[in-house]
Amino acid sequence: MLWLLFLLVTTSHAELCKPDAENAFKVRLSIKTALGDQSYTWDTNEEYLFRAMVAFSMRKVPNREATEISHVLLCNVTQRVSFWFVVTDPSKNHTLPAVEVQSAIRMNRNRINNAFLLNDQTLEFLKIPATLAPPTDSAVPVWIIIFGVVFCIVIVAITLLILSGIRQRRRKSKGLPEVEDAEDKCETPITVENGIPCDPLDTKEVHLNEAFVPEGERLTPL
């Protein structure tokens, strides 16, 4: 009699949890990929933890606070590691609707991942899409800040150069009101120092050679 009852329970369990059963989900773990040398072996204790986590997630759903670990059934564990699971109601005759299980798992995905030291990619619930982390967006995009800094530096440099150019020109025109404005930088020191037009000296060798400047200074009073 007891043996018959046992057989009944196991077959009913087998009926509830099998691949592609109604309201069943397949889970896939890639422990070696995630942890490498520090990976643990998947054994019945780990399965117990899994069932506990699923039960925990279900207990957070309103109306399902009475879910126990024994209500979570696992089957078809492969070497991969992958398996199927279902959550049954307290009577153990029906499985809970997939939508409820899905939303419960989604809400607590982070806790489940952390319990197994895995992440969304290495602990996969097929048919339960993960909520991807939102990108961290600062209030002001970073690039605008750097752009602003470079922009200001360039504007300041341009302004400085233009102002110094205007100042140089004003100094030159004050020293030589009759000489035409020449764009040559080399002329400026000579004209300011002497106050005498030195165009005849300027035709080719304008290249500032210190050896010539004192020579010019000595000659011009003549």
Binding site: R28, L29, S30, I31, K32, T33, T78, Q79, R80, V81, S82, P129, A130, T131, L132, P134, P135, V142, W143, I144, I146, F147, V150, F151, V154, I155, A157, I158, L161, I162, G165, R169, E180, A182, E183, D184, K185, C186, E187, D199, D202, T203, K204, V206, H207
Partner: protein
Amino acid sequence: MEKARPLWANPLQFVFACISYAVGLGNVWRFPYLCQMYGGGSFLVPYIIMLILEGMPLLYLELAVGQRMRQGSIGAWRTISPYLSGVGVASVVVSFFLSMYYNVINAWAFWYIFHSFQDPLPWSVCPLNANRTGYNEECEKASSTQYFWYRKTLNISPSIQENGGVQWEPALCLILAWLVVYLCILRGTESTGKVVYFTASLPYCVLIIYLVRGLTLHGATNGLAYMFTPKVLAGGRILTARLEQLANPKAWINAATQIFFSLGLGFGSLIAFASYNEPSNNCQKHAIIVSLINSATSIFASIVTFSIYGFKATFNYENCLNKVILLLTNSFDLEDGFLTPSNLEQVKSYLASTYPSQYGEVLPQIKNCSLEAELDTAVQGTGLAFIVYTEAIKNMEVSQLWSVLYFFMLLMLGIGSMLGNTAAILTPLTDSKAITKHLPKEAISGLVCLISCAVGMVFTMEAGNYWFDIFNDYAATLSLLLIVLVETIAVCYVYGLRRFEGDLQSMTGRSLNWYWKIMWAGVSPLLIISLLLFYLSDYILTGTLQYQAWDASQGQLVTKDYPVYALVFIGLLVASATMCIPLAALGTFVMRRLKRGDAAPVA
């Protein structure tokens, strides 16, 4: 009374200016592509031959003309012959077109630099879709780097007809790029001379750093080996990377074209730079140095590029293998970590024989991963710089640093070339007394920058990249060949080779080598004529012109035909530069006739 002309502070500034101008983006993103297309190491043979036959003589010619005439391109050619001032005008027009679109590249480089200060790099991850369950669709179909380039940077429209509005982000970067250029050319040779120390030398520092990093990357040797080893064509015929490619006329034509455009001949920039030289400057030595350094940089850059290619291809290949392994592991519930790249083939055949039906279901999804196919993706131009390189960079450690370095190098190369371009436009303008009487030098530079920037806003629109491609492909190619051809003929036959030789001798004190005389009078013009004929016949034979448009729904480029108004615009681009030459000659002819004071009307 001769107005004193500003000079370079020392000859080194002149050499650096020429190097900074000649060594540009083409060395980094066109030469490696050509190397890959035409047989790798064996492409160097036509390249070096063309350098000696065409590059060095024409470069020396332009520098000598500039140094002798001591004026910008318009004045120089007017001095050679009043009927040929059109050559100078054409140079200025082409330089103007170039500066309009070239600075957009610098704007993009700025954009990428500013975005490199984030972790993770924005082009390494796809953004999420609306309900955060997956990634953006366009990004999934293409790749994250392509998505960032086409959607976030360009925000490209599906075709050239759909203009869209001006995008404010690239527009800001373009304004900044023009401000930086203005800052560098503000004071003429005084400021340019100092800036070129940086723009010429910094790219080499970055290239050396990248060479060291590139050669130590995993898989770099694959890329280098690919560049230098024979390739197997379809049908198993091995294309010896030695003899057969030499017989391919396209290799020679592309080598000649690359040398020609890489040195930046015909824009008037070299004439402008040389006009600020001392008359006794040894420009022959400088011409040889600049052309050798330019070619050496191309080869150096292609070694770096190929090691990066190798790294990227190996990375993608290993990724592909890992995806196949994951697929098989999941479908057959094999133990995690059991499948490795080394036993993949064995296990595949085992699975095929043991579970034939299941294997048959999975088979369509299994991709054939091939390292060769990954290496074969030859890319040039903006695609190489902003898509392929960024893809390789995002997989390196400390990718922010490598990204900043790389785009900083692109920026230096681009700004160096821009300095030459703007010099080509500004030197004739500042030479003209009519303009300098009313406006100071700073204002003229500012006006040129402002106008170019305003027109350049076209390239920041959604369809802007298509217009950019039009300018890139057609604005300078044919016009330059014609300009340089007329230049060579003008110096040798209109001005007279002997007269020019005498001028050079009295100016520098060195006699002209017979080699240059033969090249200028005979070989180089013949080469240019054959290049011109090739280009013209190519355009005519291809029939209607097409362009590559980005299709967001498929996540890839598709070929489309240009609309009529675009074709008309292309024609106008080419005509506006080339027509300057005959029009100016005609104009001078008419003016002279009128000036002769004949009462009779011009016949």
